[in-house]
Symmetry: D2
Subunit: 168 residues, 4 copies
Amino acid sequence: MEERKELCDIVVEALENIGVNIEDLVVIVYDLQRKYNEDISMEDCEENLLKVFEKREVINTVLTGLAIDKMVQEGKFPEPIQSVIKRDDGLYGVDEILPLGIVNLYGTIGLTNFGYLDKEKPGVINEIDQRKKDGHQVTTFTDDILAAIVAAAAARIAHGQRLQEENK
Amino acid sequence: MEERKELCDIVVEALENIGVNIEDLVVIVYDLQRKYNEDISMEDCEENLLKVFEKREVINTVLTGLAIDKMVQEGKFPEPIQSVIKRDDGLYGVDEILPLGIVNLYGTIGLTNFGYLDKEKPGVINEIDQRKKDGHQVTTFTDDILAAIVAAAAARIAHGQRLQEENK
Amino acid sequence: MEERKELCDIVVEALENIGVNIEDLVVIVYDLQRKYNEDISMEDCEENLLKVFEKREVINTVLTGLAIDKMVQEGKFPEPIQSVIKRDDGLYGVDEILPLGIVNLYGTIGLTNFGYLDKEKPGVINEIDQRKKDGHQVTTFTDDILAAIVAAAAARIAHGQRLQEENK
Amino acid sequence: MEERKELCDIVVEALENIGVNIEDLVVIVYDLQRKYNEDISMEDCEENLLKVFEKREVINTVLTGLAIDKMVQEGKFPEPIQSVIKRDDGLYGVDEILPLGIVNLYGTIGLTNFGYLDKEKPGVINEIDQRKKDGHQVTTFTDDILAAIVAAAAARIAHGQRLQEENK
């Protein structure tokens, strides 16, 4: 428990290190769910997002994805895969497979949310994606990881109270 | 080969029986891919869509999904699942799992396209979904099946010439 | 809550109607997990299995799969898919896609457990599969559904106490 | 085409660098498919395995997985994920998600083959896994990547001539 709490903090810190605040993600969760539920509050969204961070498989996936981008940024991956990941070729695909470890845990709503966000790239997801396009930073896995986190949090809200009871 | 050709025709016919023409789907494929490739033509889109229909797993998934909706429409499924499918509860989820048998074959682009179309429901996909909401027709699986077909065709174009060579 | 409890009972009853007892499944869960954890008891396995039955997406998937087999058994599905499902062609595949709605919820351990059980078909899973081969009963979806339930329960045990805390 | 051929050679070379020969994998494909098709030859198995290596998504997934293990072996990943990957905790899971990018392309047979091989670990897959357990080498992703390659090749054979025609 103690250890898990620490890992969760490490995720929040890892995101902050690349300039992504929890609030940036909460806003997207809110916009995504508002159309289905007018009564939802920012607080609900933040609470559900932080619950997603407590799952070990989520933590492991986030840290692995961010670490790959960091290694590639530092030029440490062997060629030719170093260059493939760096330019995030449209056919690369591994960056969209990895987040399935997050969204699958939240059922099909998680999966379809992820596909939607991966295409629309709202808010900070687009901002992160732009850094890659500008050549400033390798964010090949990071934008998809963020989309998956948001997709999972929104799916968690959709399942709502029901899931909270059923998952016990 | 002969047999497969016939099954493909059965799919086209099955779709026409519920008022969905190939052209309705081709238009969505075109709109989806135009932003990535300005040179694409309606003919390319139709050709790729028909290629999707030739895969046995696609044919089987389409026919199974349409058959379930038809059975439920006729009130033949046993309760309580008859009612659950009929009202397509937001947490039902099986209708979004089934199409994975189609889109997974086309890599992650197929999967993310599907998630996007499932949320946006452009053109005939929305029209089919409305019939359900109007209570006229059970289309619980049908709208997701259509989204998957379009997603697969668009992914096939994205992989383009490259995939055509690689898939041989 | 009340309603969910009832749906869970309907699942147990639906399985008993085709001659599958909870105990038949508990034994497979036990055999599967014993190699990883010597201290596990039959009671642990049964408890985890019943917890799996409480998830709405699991209930919906089980009832849908059993209902399809029942409809096909009664010859109610339209041709040509009626015959395809009845003979469970090796390339049919939809019967293995449907259970992903169950096992994906339990992470990758659920998924790999499912693949293993689908090939090995221990105990009652094989028995159910034989009925199909003998021509007595359509069990195209049923054997895969049973494999998925067992795979999910075993994955739930593997995640153990940790998951119980994390899933809250 | 030229470029793809080169990437394919890089995969074969990358596997040989960690002491895995194509023949080691061909044997497992053969053992897996022999029970379904007595007429199959080692040559068929090798041919199908090499066809799997020609798909860009396969190449990218293999090279990414092997590169992660190499980076972790050299202690280059940031903590705490460096230690998590190195000891391949039973709940890590990302190493089983990544290969879905390979097996999903070959339908549900690919997926269930993968789950089976991941548990049974025949031949060189077990050998690679043992190196990790002996502490000699980080092979967290490598054993799952090998299982996925074999699963895909066996699924390709299962689909057989039919798929070869349908995939065009």
